[in-house]
Symmetry: C2
Subunit: 364 residues, 2 copies
């Protein structure tokens, strides 16, 4: 019997193409005896909707919950623009996050040296950039109730979304951020809009309380709008940034875009450790989306997906060395001058998804 | 009797210093017979709190409502970090916006040619940049109820903010955006998170409906997180961007920062035209804040404040020519190589607030 189980959800668009490269990697690490993974896979997003009329089936959610780690591609595309709201592709992602209770979304924004000049920012501002955005993922306006549209008559409707945070939710995500800061630059920026939002006031209060347990970590408060600005102005001032679900969505995208390496960035979403086994539910996915415009062409960049698998090795299975080997293989291939179309550069060779995947595997 | 009334609220920090330069300008245009402004001024933010224990007095709110235009500096600073929530400096701004009902916040992000190299982005990406963010300013999560923190006992609290939009609020801000797009590049991007928020679903539905009345304007939908990314990646793809209060707060700050000209950017907040007189309440303020770190040193950049006054000339008093003259004077002074500290450049002369104000006035 395999010791570790992976549940693969390639999703839509380029999700299916880049997942293939991870499957090859798994086959290889298993064959080499480096891992003992059993894998199963399911449908998510538009793919599930087309087949089952829902963004993800209860069965696949159950499988995701039972697995040691879920590896997720990407969902969505114009094809499903008119799907009913509750069955739109994104609903799969939101349901999985909530049911797996993976509240801590880790989004590293790293600038690969070979790609520093691909950033829209000046090279010296992003070279060596290494920010970790810690985004709260199971609360806030994404899930708060009421969340409704009411018909008021006379052609008028009222839409309501509700941002809700409780102390324990802020406390646990803050601890994740402080713990990670200890292993890195020792600095946490906490971003909120406490000048306008009550949830921001509570957010700040709880984060400051948690900080008392981490005297060795520097805490800075920053307003979310200013955080967005400062990310663009001088990104290297940041080490770890902790923020809520909605601000995290935007700020992590800004941070990712700064690096010039969007197609390269993985993410991990972790739950609380099980009180008995210590295991945490975990969900790994690239930061980029399903890129419907280039889907099916075999040109998508598989690196973020492969790097997400590396994060799984590190965070779910404690295979630190193998994780580093995969990450080094990615860097080595870039140093060799291989590029997919999204990061094409002069004097570099542009290759497709399969060739990029094979080149990384060949380095291992 | 003066034909037009201005109510000046310098606020805190550098707000008071940069307002002085606008006052000199008003004195000059009045003396030249170009304008016939009566001015009065009040206290807002920390300044009002220190004197009256509130962020703004009822009397000053009444004066703001009675004036033809309000010229606002900036509020806030660490001194008032522990002021009670309802009296924090920002409360003045929020109350004024709401009571004046200035729902349409126009935030131009223009890259002054002389400053293109001051941007953190590569020069060719921002040179000639001219984006107009149209932000909804009197609705959304800023004002929705409930907005509370509840003590749940056991050290737990629950904070709630509510995002609410009704059809008419979205309709009127969309019309402002489309009308402005007609006078510019003819393109509107509408940014929301309809994949997660019901208010986003309604936002998109209403904007699409309004678009039917503007067949000559191109409408693009964009998710707010992607909008933030795209602003960083290729900002010149945008002309007008319309979005809600919270996304507008963040996206307009990103857009402003891109230009390298943050200390230069004005904003206008406009109400609905009065059904009888056609006049709209109007509120003008720089995009930047009160910069407590440099307050009192006489080094703040007065340009955004002066440009805000120019916007008042244009939008409230239809003095298009004089507005352009002021804007041209700003550009001319920059071309002459004068800079305040925030935009200091090699081969340019760094001057203080007063000298910059005087140089602009001298060009008129
Ligand atoms: C697809 C969407 C629901 C999702 C989000 O808003 O969280 C995405 O933008 C992300 O950041 O993972
Ligand atoms: C000061 C603050 C309340 C305000 C806002 O959030 O609207 C500011 O950031 C702005 O953009 O004008």
């Amino acid at each position: 019997m395999a010791t570790h189980s992976l549940f693969l959800l390639p999703g839509d668009g380029i999700g299916t193409e880049i997942m293939v490269e991870v499957e090859k990697l798994i086959a290889w690490t298993n064959a080499e005896g480096l891992t003992d993974f059993s894998t199963d896979s399911g449908l998510a997003g538009g793919a599930a909707y087309d087949k089952h009329g829902v963004a993800i089936t209860d069965e696949d959610v159950a499988k995701a919950k039972a697995a040691d780690a879920v590896i997720f591609g990407a969902v969505g595309g114009p094809k499903w623009d008119n799907a009913p709201y509750e069955h739109r592709p994104e609903a799969a992602l939101l349901r999985l996050r909530k049911e797996l209770a993976v509240f801590a979304n880790l989004r590293p924004a790293i600038c690969y040296p070979a790609l520093a000049s691909a950033s829209s920012l000046k090279k010296e501002l992003v070279e060596g950039l290494d920010i970790l955005i810690v985004r709260e993922l199971t609360g806030g306006v994404y899930f708060g109730e009421p969340k409704t549209i009411t018909d008021l008559g006379n052609g008028q409707k009222r839409a309501v979304d509700t941002q809700v945070y409780e102390t324990y939710e802020i406390d646990r995500i803050a601890r994740v951020a402080f713990d990670l800061a200890r292993t890195r630059g020792g600095k946490v920026h906490s971003a909120d809009k406490k000048n306008v939002m009550k949830s921001g006031v509570l957010w700040d209060e709880v984060v400051r309380n948690v900080a008392k347990d981490y005297a060795d970590v520097e805490l800075h408060h920053i307003l979310a709008d200013n955080a967005a600005m400062q990310l663009v102005r001088t990104p290297k001032q940041f080490d770890v940034m902790v923020t809520d679900n909605l601000f995290g969505d935007i700020l992590s995208d800004v941070a990712a875009m700064l690096t010039g390496s969007l197609g390269m960035l993985p993410s991990a979403s972790l739950g609380a450790p099980d009180p008995v086994t210590g295991k945490r539910k975990a969900f790994y996915e690239p930061v980029h989306g399903s890129a419907p415009d280039i889907a099916g062409k075999g040109i998508a960049n598989p690196i973020a997906m492969i790097a997400s698998f590396a994060m799984a090795l590190r965070y779910s299975f404690n295979m630190i060395e193998l994780a580093s080997q995969v990450e080094n293989a990615i860097a080595a291939v870039l140093d060799d001058g291989l590029r997919t179309g999204d990061i094409a550069q002069d004097n570099c060779k542009t290759v497709g998804t399969e060739e990029m995947g094979a080149a990384i595997l060949a380095k291992l």
